[in-house]
């Protein structure tokens, strides 16, 4: 029973995570990645032995011998694996959130380019280097449910305030900028 529930949970987490990753919005992308990592964690949890009321760590050797004579204790390794996987996915989710945010401030859009965009542009198929002019984003209509992400709700945004320009956002004036 419990394994059936676990399988259902893992399956639905994978399905919804995959669905969210395939959407265009980046907040959904982050949520989808998080759901996928939860699904894998549950899968790892299910790969161990599912027992009830028999903890895996024994401080006393004799208690251990008694316990193991009757029935097997829980398996501690999946929990360690899950903890490690959680740590890693925590770090990576943090990085992706910061990346998406930075991308938003740089390109002013929450939208990941579709493959059809460059095909319609002349010349270089993979060139987004001059995407700073917002004109080319305009004809990419947002999905209907993504309007809340749109900056159109806040017309006429000011530039970044002076107090926010610290050394992490400043560039050297005369350094060569890679395309």
């Amino acid at each position: 029973m419990i394994s059936l529930l676990l399988a259902l949970a893992v399956g639905s987490l994978f399905a919804s995570g995959t669905y969210l990753i395939l959407r265009r919005g980046q907040i959904k992308l982050i949520l989808g990645l998080a759901l996928l990592s939860h699904g894998v964690n549950l899968l790892l949890f299910g790969s161990g032995r599912l027992t009830e009321g028999r903890p895996p760590i024994f401080l006393d050797k004799n208690v251990y011998a008694e316990t193991i004579a009757s029935s097997l204790p829980a398996d501690p390794l999946p929990q360690a694996l899950i903890l490690t996987a959680i740590v890693i996915s925590f770090g990576i989710t943090a990085f992706v959130i910061v990346l998406v945010n930075r991308r938003h401030t740089v390109t002013q859009t929450d939208f990941v380019h579709g493959e059809y965009v460059p095909l319609l542009r002349e010349g270089d198929p993979f060139d987004f280097s001059d995407s700073s002019d917002n004109v080319q984003h305009d004809w990419l209509a947002y999905e209907v449910d993504e309007v809340y992400d749109s900056e159109d709700l806040l017309p006429g945004l000011p530039a970044m305030p002076e107090s926010e320009r610290d050394e992490s956002t400043a560039m050297e004036e005369d350094s060569y900028q890679w395309p």
């Binding site: 990753i21 980046q26 992308l29 990645l33 996928l36 990592s37 894998v40 899968l43 790892l44 299910g46 790969s47 161990g48 032995r49 895996p56 760590i57 024994f58 050797k61 251990y64 011998a65 193991i68 004579a69 097997l72 204790p73 398996d75 501690p76 390794l77 999946p78 694996l81 490690t84 890693i88 990576i92 990085f95 992706v96 990346l99 998406v100 930075r102 991308r103 740089v106 390109t107 990941v112 380019h113 010349g123 270089d124 198929p125 993979f126 060139d127 987004f128 280097s129 995407s131 700073s132 050394e167 992490s168 400043a170 560039m171 050297e172 350094s175 060569y176 900028q177 890679w178 395309p179």
Partner: protein, 552 residues
Amino acid sequence: MAVSANLLAVPVAAPLLTAALILLFARWGGRRRIRHQIALTTLALCLNLAATAILFQATAGRGERFVLQLGDWSAPFGITFYGDGLSATLLLLTALVALAVYPFAVATIDYHRDRMGFHPLYLFLLMGVNGAFLSGDLFNLYVFFEVLLMASFVLLTIGAQPAQTNSGIRYVVLNLLASTIFLIAAGVAYGTLGTLNMAQIAQRLTMASPAVRTVFAGLLLVSFGSKAAIFPLFFWLPASYHTPPPAVTALFGGLLTKVGIYTLFRSFTLFFPELLVSWQPILLTISGATMLVGALGALAQPGIRRVLSFHIISHVGFMLMGLAVAQSGNRLAVGFGLGAAVIYLCHHMIIKTALIMAGGAVELHMGSDRLASIGGLVTRQPLLAFLFFMSAISLAGVPPFSGFVSKLSLLQITLDTRHWFVSGISLFASLLTMINMMRLWRESFWGDYNRPSRVPVRILQSRIRQQLMLTPVAVLVLLSLALGIWGGPAFQLSMKVAQQALDREAYIEAVSPSSPISTPGAEQPLVSLQAYFSDHPKAISGMTARPLLESR
């Protein structure tokens, strides 16, 4: 000279400790602190090179195998580092590539990225790659994968230009998906085999059901193949490799996909040697498609680095072809295919790094890498033109260089095993490579001098920086030449490495995972378990008791 197994810890520990020290003292030193960081990083890279050279000499030269059980915990319980000829070869090449790219990076990375922590990130990436080559445990491999991915994410997106963040999203998401699939594979392995130690997995897979083997192999092929950029899974690579600074691209092109290739080599030779025969059509089809798509895609690309990143994909196909014929050696020795793949790997890591660095130098001189708008650099930079030409014909496989030896040996084994079609494709892909390389050289160096960018490049006004940029390229080209001239001894060495990698029993024996409970299927009385745990008090836990449950 006796080599201690503790040497295996150096390629991981030295970069990590140095990066930690750099971070620790990053606040002090004023304007000189970048210089201190550069000095420390160079020291760590040299130490890494020395350690891996000793390791290579002991493993590939004398045929030894090293196993380091971290903290003296016996095999299935603790973390295992395993070093044999294959991993030592890759470690040595990694150290070489990292040390060669570093002067180029020092010369070309801008001050902004310097301050954002480029140097510790470089070391973290090196540590992750080295750890992935050394790891003898599936979950530990996952952790090192994540370490190198994390470092590569930051190296790719540091600076936050719009193009960088665009490509960064794709790179991050596709690589994370591959890691997730790998983690699923690890969960399947633990759920069905009850272990994550690679030697023990190899031991128990022989008794597992074919369904388990197929699922496990498929998951590993998809995840490792996605890291290695094989045919249907390569999209993250050309979408991202042209956006960071060329030094970062050179490092990525030299190292990252090779981790995927190494893990494919390791997992197929260790876990499923029989699948190398039964899955041979699949592997050959994938490799042919990878070669063809890479070469054809490169033909359509307009920029130097985009062409070169498509060629990485094409070359991954060559190595995969070597793996596919690894088990079938009828007239030639068994393992000839893997030996050819190993020498191809060496050739590719050396010359691809050199070529990307030379291309980066062109890009820096011209201010752009669009082939349509640049040209005529040969009059201003004759040495750069010469080095670019040498590495280009080496990549295409012209005789005195290493490309000829490696391609010839791969072709020999595929023709000998009568895979006419795939060997024809590989010849065609080589031809396309030649065309592409000539196109690159002609467009960027021949014709009238044409420099589209008006931005003055301050870096190039310093002579020492120019030397720092060109010297590593020259050294790598010389290495490739040496590998081509001494092709016979080099090939014998790589054959030794391949046969060492194909010897699964020796791997299992070297790691010798103590298995208190017998493998699933065999009956084992419960008493022996208690006897084992009274002998090994450290192992007090129900950790390995799982197969017992299945046997009851």
